[in-house]
Amino acid sequence: MSRLLLLSPLLLFLGLAYLLPLSGVMLQSVTTPEPGLQNYSAALGDPLVWSVIWRTLRVCLCVTVLAVVLAYPLTLLWLKGNTATRVLVELAIMIPFWLSVLSRAFGWLSLLSNRGLINSWLQSLGIIAEPLTMVRNEFGVVIGMMHFLIPFAVFPLASAMRSVDDRVILAARGMGASRMRIFWQIFVPMTKSGIVGAALLVFVFSLGFYIVPTLLGGGRSVMIAELIYLRIFQIPNWGLAAALSALLMVSIGAFLVALIKRAGVSTT
């Protein structure tokens, strides 16, 4: 009881600042402009919505897989490397983590554009004749989002790796297992919860990305967050915007529940 009492300011705050407006949005999705489910049927019957959802899923899955795969060795280096490596890796993780998403997106633009650093180098080295198109398309979006999200994958992975009992590794080595075998058959399975946690965090976070796809997508990589923005501000249709938000939220929720159940990750 006293626990509940202690928690009550937070619960009250969350209720007022979060649940109440959220339920307002949910309500709008079935009442604006008139009561009924027409917003949902309009949203689900719209080919643009489907193409945007499909692109969002495609980009976010790519980003999730890449971010986790790249974050894994990075985390290992961070935790198990020698001091110099650890400091270097820590800087490499933390500095971009503190930079604004805008400056990072512009950084990628100047690296990847047709007359950007990478293309100029490759051209002056004679490796390519024509600039490679690396930005203002989905590739650029994936690169930019992945770069932003790698730190978010590192932290759950690090916590999982820290909790691996070193004695298990020692025992495996003592039994004559090769390094590769120890890594793939012991270490990786023991950090599974970290991998799933990292993937979940990255995926859910990536679904709401707005700035990176807008800047690096060259205008043609419209994702779900931008579509909702469009429905709220540009061509106001709040009922439809609310329905889209509700669909996004419910599908993320359902996805999380399914994944957590399947992976058997504890929710505490």
Partner: protein
């Protein structure tokens, strides 16, 4: 679309100020003009005891306070109304939220005429009071019930001159990648692009409206492989051409003018088959300061001198035709509504946009992102 154009204007002013091309005073003047084509406002410490206040919502950002400081006095002296500038941006959805709250804090907004019209018909905007605002100071065909024309801008072809021996002279040239090789850029929010595609496809300017969307989208879809980017803001459009990411683009005339001047003609522009867009000021229904003060503000902004000043700072075409003559001869080329330039272009049909913009933009985004 309009919001982007407006934001862009403030950025251009800031860039000019930084490069020393523009004095601080000129900068503030420009901001003031943007805020509704004429400036007013009163500093807190001013001697004028303004009994009323008014809020004009534009895209100005942090320099707004300085703007009212520098320019409010004249108008405030005349009317006793203190105007506060709010740079939070009158997006159509934001205006709607303000007006529907029943207790708006905004009085005037800088909006697209078709947005103003749509909102007005929902009862969210005041009809323009033609007793106070002078219809004689506006161009024929640019008067709306709920939006007072405040300036013009155009969607024009800008191109990298170093890449082409002969300049493009039509939208058909823009959409011809064999005759004019190289990547292109189009506007992400569709406006003007449908018209461009249809003109390129052989539709006569007078037959454009109602737009044949299927035909326009077929033209754009067939040309997609040549499009390097869809720009969402003026700075982006400018950098696409400057960085050589594209060699030809349809962009706002204000940005094309900067490119032309900054590159000394290496990135040039043409008015040929350009698309003229009007900008306007609207007044929220049940605005706190009342209709009269807001209408008087609009009327005050119609003065030819103020309109010509806006052009001098930004390249916006004057809403008041009497201002065309005040523009120095050497700058007349850049005025989107100068008689010579106007004749080569087609204005957007606001009535069509009011009815169809939402659905058209959806379809366009479907085409360009497919």
């Amino acid at each position: 679309m309009h919001k982007h154009f407006q934001q862009d204007q403030v950025m251009m002013l800031k860039e000019k100020l930084k490069s020393g091309e523009l004095s601080r005073r000129g900068f503030l003047q420009g901001l003031a003009l943007l805020g509704g084509t004429s400036a007013l406002g009163l500093s807190a410490g001013s001697a004028y005891a303004a009994d009323k206040e008014m809020v004009f919502v534009n895209w100005g950002g942090d320099a707004i306070e300085a703007m009212s400081e520098a320019f409010g006095k004249g108008y405030a002296a005349e009317t006793g109304v203190k105007v506060l500038y709010d740079g939070s941006g009158p997006l159509e959805g934001s205006i709607k939220a303000q007006a529907e709250s029943g207790n708006p804090t905004w009085d005037l907004v800088d909006c697209d005429p078709f947005s103003g019209q749509a909102l007005g018909k929902l009862g969210l905007m005041r009809p323009i009071d033609w007793e106070i605002v002078d219809p004689g100071k506006l161009r024929d065909g640019f008067q709306w019930d709920y939006a007072a024309n405040s300036y013009f801008y155009s969607y024009v072809i800008a191109y990298d001159k170093t890449k082409y021996d002969t300049p493009p002279t039509s939208m058909a040239d823009f959409f011809d990648a064999e005759k004019f090789p190289g990547k292109r850029a189009l506007y992400k929010w569709g406006v003007g692009m449908w018209e461009a595609a249809l003109l390129a496809d052989g539709v006569a300017p007078e037959d454009l409206y109602p737009l044949d969307m299927d035909r326009a989208h077929a033209k754009i879809a067939g040309f997609k492989e040549h499009i390097g980017a869809y720009w969402g803001g003026g700075a982006e459009s400018q950098s696409l051409l400057l960085n050589g990411d594209v060699s030809m683009a349809i962009i706002w005339n204000t940005r094309a003018m900067l490119l032309d001047r900054d590159t000394e003609g290496e990135v040039a522009m043409t008015w040929a088959e350009g698309i003229i867009a009007p900008g306007s000021t609207g007044v929220l229904a049940n605005n706190p300061a009342g209709g009269k003060a807001a209408m008087e503000y609009i009327a005050y902004s119609q003065a030819p001198e103020a309109q010509a000043k806006l052009f001098a700072l930004l390249g916006n075409g004057p809403a008041n035709p009497a201002a065309d003559a005040l523009i120095p001869d050497e700058d007349k080329f850049y005025n989107p509504v100068d008689p010579k330039n106007f004749a080569q272009q087609t204005p957007l049909d606001m009535a069509w946009y009011e009815e169809n913009y939402g659905a058209a933009l959806d379809a366009y985004l479907g085409v360009i992102s497919a």
